[in-house]
């Protein structure tokens, strides 16, 4: 059976409030750009997989609104309700199953149109926990507090993640927040949920991302520079926070192990040239380092202090600026994939990691890394 490659990807600029564009106009922008970039038209696309979320869009069957924009007239479209990384995987499956030669994967989100705290509160079960008012901020506070206590990680170390990602975002023309900040500024920002402060959290952004997947022979015809899909792991942690080990991201750890096994990654720091991860708060990125095996458990803080994940470090993480700089929630996972593709194609301009050959993208669903999708890509 054939291999699967990504032949091209497009993104919008991420912004706080794209009031001049509807969801479908955002999607149309990236789809049209993809057609133009690759010199293809709608007939070259076998089927479409979209990722969106009804709560974020304020619409039931949110994919109904973007049928015209994705060109799924007389064509198959299906929608993964959740993060775009999972939609990528469904798209790849449709090629592996020999059902389609090419699949377009699209993800969009307009955080500006809904209250994200309410949207995230509805993730908690309606019977016992929702009434407590839990959301992505309060649950992140619980997790950060437990993790920092167990491993003696400091608020300064957490702030370094924000400083790094915001600095990286200056090099990414698509990034939403492009402003360099200092550790002091992060530490002095408003307390949100102890020990996390306002700048430990990402902004809310609007934006869309699209990419075209193709089977081996078609991919080689479409581009000189196909990026090959090498490994995949997907693992779901417990639902109730009380049933989870809140100090380690167990689900991500298992998903990464599976993806590494498939891709033949033995030592992630040596074998991976670049990572793009969905870090939903500063401490989260440190926990992600550990779960991905970039460093030992509890070492996330010293790992970033050593500069290992900086642009010039041994394993750069989030050269794009990550979620802490641009956060159109449902699209985050697919943006990670798109950024890895740019890195491996050598098209990442000012944020390019020299000689990047193998990259990892991590997408997440739910609260505090409950649903985890790890994808590994290579240029050859």
């Amino acid at each position: 059976m054939d291999k699967v490659a990504i032949v091209g990807c497009t993104q919008t600029k991420y912004e706080a409030d794209k009031i001049d564009q509807t969801y479908s106009e955002l999607v149309f922008e990236v789809v049209k750009k993809l057609h133009n970039d690759l010199g293809i038209n709608n007939d070259d696309i076998g089927c479409v997989i979209t990722s969106s979320n009804d709560f974020n869009d304020g619409r039931t069957i949110a994919n109904m609104a973007i049928q015209d924009a994705v060109g799924s007239v007389r064509k198959a479209e299906s929608r993964v309700s959740g993060d775009g990384a999972f939609a990528f995987m469904y798209g790849a499956m449709r090629i592996f199953s020999e059902s389609y030669d090419t699949v377009m994967v699209v993800s969009h989100c307009k955080c500006s149109e809904v209250n994200q705290y309410l949207v995230n509160n509805t993730i908690f079960d309606p019977y016992y926990q929702r009434h407590l008012g839990l959301d992505q901020v309060s649950s992140a506070g619980l997790m950060a507090n437990m993790y920092m206590n167990k491993y003696n990680v400091t608020e300064e170390q957490a702030a370094r993640v924000v400083v790094k990602n915001r600095k990286n975002a200056l090099n990414n023309p698509y990034a939403h927040l492009q402003e360099e900040i200092t550790i002091k500024k992060v530490l002095d920002s408003k307390m949100m949920a102890y020990p996390l402060k306002e700048l430990d959290f990402p902004p809310f952004s609007d934006g869309a991302v699209a990419m075209l997947l193709a089977k081996e022979d078609v991919a080689k015809k479409m581009t000189e520079n196909p990026i090959w899909f090498k490994g995949y792991g997907n693992c779901t942690d417990a639902y109730y926070l009380g049933n989870r080990n809140m100090t380690d991201l167990i689900g991500l750890e298992l998903a990464a192990k599976e993806a590494y096994r498939m891709a033949g990654v033995n030592n992630p720091v040596d074998d991976l040239d670049v990572c793009e991860v969905s870090e939903n708060f500063s401490i989260h990125e440190l926990m992600i380092y550990e779960a991905l095996g970039l460093c030992d458990k509890g070492e996330g803080g010293t790992f970033i202090e050593g500069g290992e994940t900086e642009m010039n470090g041994s394993v750069p993480v989030n050269p794009s600026g990550g979620v802490l700089s641009s956060n159109p929630t449902m699209a985050n996972g697919l943006i990670r994939v798109a950024e890895i593709v740019l890195q491996l194609q050598g098209k990442a301009d000012k944020r390019q990691i020299p000689n990047a050959k193998t990259g990892l993208a991590y997408g997440m669903n739910g609260i505090c890394s409950q649903g985890n999708c790890v994808l590994i890509f290579g240029g050859e």
């Binding site: 039931t60 007389r74 959740g82 592996f96 199953s97 669903n365």
Partner: protein, 390 residues
């Protein structure tokens, strides 16, 4: 990574008894009933399941990322892959198709596919109204019944289909439902008069021309060739899975027919080697949200010529005793747990292929068709058979 394409079969089936209210269970408890039944049917343990595909419509119960709750609390999703697919009325068939690609791609050896809905804990119509464009559609033509009434009206005006012919569909399906232990509305003695004298809802749809809203869940287990051999000698193999969409705005189309059903079924027939669906297929489980739609859909699916849906019914071909029974389970007019409805079609088609339909079994089924309908008038078609395709 390189993968090998696999054949995929349904090896385990679970359905709850569908009712208008399940006050005795909460959402995970209700789903667990179907999951346990499917696991028992395939004689698998929770640990044997490789991956889960699960879905419902978020707004109906008001739970965001419902798969993260239900996949873990009601099914063996802990430390496993869980993916949610939600596409409106087609949710069940989209789940069924997503599950197919999970196994056909060679990524997983088996998959547990779950569709569910517990509509009395939320509001279906409130949810459906928000599916429509807030500026152009919501004030004029939103919800489920408005557009379906428009379609029924256009269809009857175009082809002269009568309210009596439509009522006959309800009578057929709800009497079939009496033979299906899982069906919600079981009405063995229902008459045409009873349907035609029921309350007018939205012309020409009367109360009994419309599907109910039901609570319940459906779970299916699929496996590849190797695992299927270990589990059962009586599986139902997938021959084709197809989806077709059309315009964003339903009213951009003519509304008196269902073009997506024609696009999707033609592709599926080609893949499954079906030349004459009425002869080559033995039974169909189609997604008829109203009595009128069953007549119109039978035309779109190529079971008869355009405008002859009423004649096909009048000739008795689609009755249980006919040459080509449609909806032996009672169909959507009898049971409609939205996120599970189209998956129930696949479950019932597989049941027929396996010959396990008991009182609702059609004799000697080799091939069966299942259909999903929803969104902005889009269609999904799945064809199942007794033998693998190749």
């Amino acid at each position: 990574m390189k993968m090998t394409k696999h054949d995929v079969a349904v090896v385990g089936i679970g359905q709850t008894k569908f009712r208008s209210k399940r006050r005795d269970v909460n959402i995970p408890e209700m789903i667990y009933e179907a999951v346990k039944m499917a696991l028992d049917d395939a004689q698998l343990e929770p640990k044997d399941i490789d991956a889960l595909v699960i879905g419902n419509m978020d707004h109906f119960e008001g739970i965001n990322f419902s798969e993260l709750m239900c996949g873990i609390e009601a099914a063996p999703g802990y430390l496993k892959p869980v993916v949610k697919v939600a596409t409106g009325g087609t949710t069940g068939s989209s789940l069924a198709i997503c599950g197919y690609h999970h196994v056909a791609s060679g990524i997983y050896d088996n998959v547990l596919v779950i569709g569910w809905e517990k509509l009395n804990e939320g509001g279906a119509t409130t949810g459906i109204i928000t599916a429509f464009d807030p500026v152009w559609e919501r004030p004029s033509l939103a919800g489920a019944l408005g557009p379906l009434a428009l379609m029924a009206g256009m269809y009857s005006a175009k082809y002269g289909i009568t309210a009596e012919q439509a009522a006959k569909v309800t009578v057929k399906n709800r009497s079939n439902a009496a033979n299906n232990p899982f069906a919600h509305l079981q009405m063995p003695n229902i008459t045409i008069d009873y349907v035609m004298s029921s309350q007018m809802i939205s012309y020409p749809l009367r109360l009994h021309d419309c599907c109910p809203q039901s609570e319940g869940a459906c779970a299916l287990i699929y496996a590849n060739e190797k695992e299927t051999k270990k589990i059962t000698d009586n599986p139902a193999w997938f021959h084709a899975v197809e989806t077709a969409h059309y315009y964003t705005f339903g009213t951009d189309d003519k509304m008196y027919d269902l073009p997506t059903a024609t696009f999707a079924s033609k592709k599926a027939y080609k893949k499954a080697g079906i030349k004459n669906p009425v002869k080559d297929l033995d039974v169909a489980e189609i997604y008829e949200p109203t009595s009128w739609s069953e007549l119109s859909w039978t035309e779109a699916l190529g079971f008869c010529k355009p405008g002859e849906g009423g004649k096909l019914l009048d000739e008795g071909i689609t009755q249980m005793s006919g040459e080509f029974p449609i909806n032996p389970s009672g169909g959507v007019l009898s049971t409609n747990p939205i996120g599970a409805t189209a998956l129930v079609r696949v479950a019932e088609a597989a049941t027929q292929v396996m010959g396990r339909g008991e009182k609702r079994q059609v004799p000697d089924v080799e091939k069966a068709l299942a259909m999903g309908f929803g969104g902005s008038l889009w269609t999904e078609i799945l064809i199942l058979g007794k033998e693998p395709m190749r």
